[in-house]
């Protein structure tokens, strides 16, 4: 699989390390009533077949954290965005 790093260009996926689902939002609140949102954020993951956004780090290159949109079935990569821009 090839990932097009915005800083380094198209590189083989072996240069990257995957973290996982990038669609989960870290809950803003930290009160007792927020515990369910935290439980969801820390533990609950969908396992979609198809297009999905994931965090990958270019550990073997520029070390940027990236959000990669790829199809989990065909591994086609549709978009690669720096994580700092994706969360904005």
């Amino acid at each position: 699989m090839l990932i097009d790093c915005p800083y380094c260009g198209e590189r083989l996926s072996e240069e990257f390390t995957i973290l996982g689902d990038a669609t989960k939002q870290r809950p803003a609140g930290s009160g007792a009533s927020d515990i369910d949102a935290w439980y969801d954020y820390v533990f609950i993951r969908d396992n979609p077949k198809g297009r999905h956004r994931e965090y990958w780090q270019h550990t073997g290159g520029c070390r940027a954290w990236l959000v990669v949109e790829r199809d989990t079935l065909t591994h086609q990569v549709y978009a690669v965005t720096p994580a700092r821009d994706a969360s904005a």
Binding site: M1, P27, D34, Q57
Partner: protein
């Protein structure tokens, strides 16, 4: 033996004879031969014994799909088992041995299996070898192990080298037959970077095996001319002997190049094989088609071969398998073999056509028997003839012949196009599977796409090459296609098996799967092609069913009243043909299996006689033995010396991160569970990092060097993970924070200086005031070493002694270590290693990796007071969960064997005294152990349920893995200097 070499023709070089041995007998061949063609030339038909029934077998094909003629090539560390004789290029001194037979190929005792064939049908082992139960381990399994397998792997190290490489191109053309050559030419002329790869020893594909006429000249001449132009194009790379074995995501292709398999010993500094990853913008799949065998009685006898293979032997290698041929075919292409064999001066007894009446021209004088089938091949050592049954007849006629050409039709070699999981498509007219309709990045063309005439292949190849180059961004047009002799349109009538067969008819030659096995599988309920494959083992051999899979689908369709497309095919997976472990390994063998990381003090450690241990990729000095000392004696002496006077230890492997910026303090407060707002410049503080789920992640120290400038350390094991974590937190969670950070693990050498005389030694090399008032416990300041080396000194202690860590730029590490040793010699300074380091921290109850094992919280380890209540940090929310706050958790204690000579082992479990060992009674486990020089016995740290309430209790330690049980006293985790007097010395 009779010579079967034809007097004329062929691409072999008659001026270069070659000598080789097979089964310890010497034979002669010619340059250009394969091992198979050379054996045939010598009249040697018997080449192997089949896997299950040990039937005598000969070669069936002339190429990569060979199921029978598997041999061991080479000796000792170079022995390559299950090598296909059809793919072994002959060289002087080649050493080949047949497989799976004892005592010899000619007389194989294993053939007795064939007598019990009715017991050894498919799946027999699911119903046998069950009784009595004890016999499985003692009798059946050892016997089966000896009988199983084909070739023998070598147990000696492989002396050859292997390489791995990458290549990039605009157009990868896979296959160099007519379609592939034209595609490479069209793309190459358009200026695209082209790689043309072919598994054969020469480029040319089927044009090397057939008698074609192209542009008024021979097919051989067309190949030569085309290759000459391709070789001259600087943007074209030719890769013969290279099998493209897999199509992967991102249009990445795996390929195996047999760099030096065609010589006895590779030239110095060259690999024997090279494993390629080729990243292609576009690819053209011109892999050709594989001829199907027919399934009829005795079709596995030596001398029964693919009709196209016989053409290859006759036309390319100038070899005939025998003196008199019979052609059995269900399609038009079988007739070509009759023509080519006749043209070589060999008799053709008859063409037996299963169709009602072909319109193909055939040589006059060769009887054509239409609407007929061969029911049996007859003969023992050699074929003597075939039995032919005409449509409507009740008895068969005998026709004399000594070799049989069979043609059941053509299967496009579609494997690569299906590697991504798409299914092929059945074509009823050609009775074959075609590539999936959509294969972005890969263009199937030629016979691989179902074009079964030469003119179509040339034309389509040109168009495909132009299209591929166009998609890759080049202006390309189809190139002129040369004229060919008129070739006949292809016609076929499927014949999946001859039901009137009067002897065993084989579907899968390599795994001895016969015609009856498939309906048997269906009757047992295994009636999908995937289940039939596993039940019968059809398609599971080293040939992966190249000759058997489609026939099996056809037979299963007929047996279950379905159509072939309804049955479908089994899943196509890489590798197309076997790839050696050597090629997969490349240069990553033995000590080169993974990189070695040496600390900046490695040289000094070696000088001091260190014994090293592996900690991840690092080599860490573990102990520094004096002559006659084992590890325990050395580590004990080192601990005593440090606690009594002074020692130095290389702690450079711990992760080091430099963090700067206006928001650095804010980031630290979010990363660690304890606070850093009150940490003054010039001071260090122990820090605990949690995971988002509330469990401990890592511990380290944070030193405040100057305003907005911090220096962080991590454990050795987690250095990379903590760095990635910090980067993630900043970039993904809080990009608004104004901070910068970088790993400086390799930039600084870090030396622990510990013991009552530590300060005195350091004062001799450091200019700054190190008195307790000027440099108190947890001080962190820049200093100068030896009058000029800029360094940092941290007064932190893992050992519990008066201790410092001196950080110098990495290049100065060895020098500073030597300097400390010489300045400390008056104090009896010693080097100490990881073992002594561990012993001392366990004596002090300091937690490390064994306790920070991913299942413990700060409270579990007695560090609950470090968890801040005034700020938010990673892990705070989930750390509040009930279960993490429960009162009955396993918490940190010390354990001390009641009998002082008992040896504790980490991992042992704890039970209440008198309790029976069971999961329900499990009370925890020992996390770290050491033989303590200070207590003169083994001690340990452990996690014990409600441990803090149980100090003084005697509990059991249970370790049946290592046969150990003992009683221990539960204690406070700190065994030595509980008041920390030495720390503040």
């Amino acid at each position: 033996m009779t010579s079967r070499r034809l007097a004329q023709g062929g691409l072999i070089d008659r001026s270069r004879p070659i000598r080789f041995t097979f089964d310890h007998k010497s034979f002669a061949g010619l340059a250009g031969d394969t091992l198979a063609s050379a054996l045939l030339a010598n009249g040697r038909m018997l080449m192997a014994r089949s896997f299950k029934y040990h039937r005598p077998r000969g070669v069936v094909t002339a190429g990569a799909s060979e199921p029978n003629a598997l041999m061991e090539i080479g000796e000792r560390g170079r022995r390559d088992a299950n090598s296909r004789a059809t793919m072994v290029e002959l060289y002087d001194g080649l050493f080949a041995v047949s497989q799976n037979r004892w005592p010899s190929l000619a007389f194989d005792l294993g053939a007795v299996n064939g007598l019990a064939a009715s017991i050894f049908v498919a799946g027999f082992y699911y119903k046998t070898f069950m009784w009595p139960k004890s016999f499985w381990e003692k009798v059946y399994e050892p016997l089966i192990r000896r009988a199983a397998g084909l070739g023998r792997a070598s147990h000696e190290p492989d002396p050859d080298a292997y390489e791995k490489a990458y290549a990039h191109c605009d157009v990868l053309v896979i296959g160099s037959g007519p379609a592939g050559l034209m595609a490479a030419l069209a793309a190459g002329r358009a200026g695209a970077r082209v790689i043309l790869a072919d598994e054969g020893s020469r480029l040319g594909g089927s044009l090397l095996a057939e008698r074609e006429e192209i542009a008024g000249d021979s097919g051989f001449a067309f190949v030569a001319a085309t290759l000459a132009e391709l070789e001259a194009l600087p943007n074209v790379t030719l890769m013969p002997r290279t099998t493209v074995f897999g199509w992967f995501d991102g249009n990445v292709f795996g390929a195996l190049e047999r760099v030096n398999k065609h010589v006895a010993v590779p030239p110095a500094h060259e690999p024997v094989e090279r494993y390629w990853r080729i990243i292609a913008k576009q690819a053209v799949m011109a892999t050709g088609a594989e001829e199907r065998p027919l399934v009829f009685g005795g079709n596995d006898k030596p001398g029964v071969m693919q009709a196209s293979a016989i053409r290859a032997y006759v036309n390319r290698y100038a070899v005939t398998p025998g003196a008199r041929a019979v052609v059995f075919t269900n399609n038009s292409s079988g007739y070509r073999t009759a023509r080519d064999v006749l043209a070589a001066g060999i008799d053709v007894a008859a063409i037996i056509d299963a169709r009602d009446g072909g319109t193909e021209t055939h040589a006059a004088g060769v009887p054509l028997i239409a609407d007929a089938v061969v029911t049996r091949v007859v003969g023992r050592e050699r074929i003597t003839g075939v039995n032919v049954l005409k449509g409507g007849a009740t008895t068969a006629d005998r026709i004399e012949a000594d070799f049989v050409a069979m043609s059941g039709g053509w299967n496009p070699v579609i494997h690569l196009s299906c590697h991504k999981g798409d299914k092929p498509v059945w074509d009823a007219e050609r009775a074959c599977f075609l590539p999936p309709p959509s294969t972005p990045g890969l263009i199937p063309v030629g016979a691989a796409a179902g074009a079964l005439t030469l003119s179509q292949c040339l034309k389509d190849g040109s168009a495909a090459g132009a299209r591929a180059a166009g998609l890759a961004g080049f202006k390309a047009t189809s190139i002129a296609v040369p004229e060919t002799r008129d070739d006949e349109p292809y016609s076929i009538r499927p014949l999946w098996h001859v039901r009137q067969s009067t002897a065993k008819a084989f579907v899968d030659f390599q795994n001895d799967v016969t015609l009856e096995d498939i309906p048997l599988a269906a009757r047992e309920g295994f009636n999908s092609i995937e289940l039939v494959k596993r039940f019968t083992t059809s398609g599971m051999g080293t040939d992966q069913g190249k000759l058997s899979n489609i026939n099996a689908s056809g037979i299963l369709a007929e047996a279950t009243g379905r159509t072939v497309p309804e049955i479908g095919t089994t899943t196509f997976r890489p590798f197309y043909t076997p790839v050696s472990f050597g090629a997969l390994t490349g240069a990553f063998r033995a000590t080169h299996y993974q990189p070695v990381r040496k600390t900046p003090l490695h040289e000094w450690c070696e000088e001091m006689g260190a014994v090293f241990m592996e900690a991840g990729l690092w080599l860490r000095s573990a102990w520094f033995p004096k002559p006659g000392e084992d590890w325990r004696a050395a580590a004990t002496r080192e601990v005593m010396a440090v606690r009594q006077s002074v020692g130095i230890c290389d702690v450079s492997t711990l992760g080091k991160i430099d963090l700067q910026g206006p928001d650095a303090t804010a980031l630290l407060n979010r990363l660690y569970c304890n606070g850093f707002s009150t940490l003054q410049p010039g001071k260090a503080r122990y820090g605990l990092m949690l995971r988002e789920d509330g469990f401990l992640f890592d511990d380290g120290t944070v030193s405040h060097l100057a305003s907005g400038h911090y220096f962080i350390t991590t454990t050795t094991a987690n250095a990379g993970r903590v760095m990635s974590h910090i980067e993630f937190c900043h970039q993904a969670l809080w990009p608004e924070l104004d901070v910068q950070y970088v790993s400086v693990t390799d930039q600084w050498a870090q030396i622990a200086v510990a013991g009552p005389n530590a300060r005195r030694v350091l004062e001799r090399v450091i200019a700054e005031d190190l008195a307790d008032a000027a440099f108190p416990y947890l001080g962190a300041q820049a200093v100068t070493v030896a009058g000029g080396i800029p360094a940092r000194l941290f007064r932190i202690s893992f050992s519990g002694e008066l201790a410092y860590e001196l950080s110098v730029p990495a290049d100065h590490g060895n020098h500073v270590a030597r300097l400390l040793m010489s300045e400390g010699s008056g104090f009896g300074i010693v080097p100490y290693g990881v073992e002594a380091l561990s012993i001392m921290r366990i004596e002090k109850g300091h937690v490390a990796g064994g306790e920070l094992n991913g299942t413990t919280t700060p409270e579990d380890l007695g560090l609950g007071r470090m968890v801040s209540r005034n700020k938010d940090f990673i892990g705070r929310m989930m750390g509040e969960r009930e279960a993490l706050k429960a009162g009955n958790r396993d918490v940190l204690v010390g354990v001390k064997p009641v009998e002082p000579d008992h040896q504790l082992r980490a991992g042992a479990h704890l039970l209440t005294r008198g309790a029976v060992a069971s999961l329900d009674n499990d009370q925890g486990y020992v996390t770290s152990v050491a033989w303590s020089p200070m207590l003169r016995q083994w001690i340990g740290l452990a996690l014990l349920k409600r441990g803090r309430e149980r100090h003084g209790e005697i509990v059991q330690v249970y370790d049946d893995l290592r046969n150990s049980r003992m009683l221990v006293e539960v204690t406070h985790p700190c065994f030595y200097d509980r008041e920390n007097l030495k720390l503040h010395g």
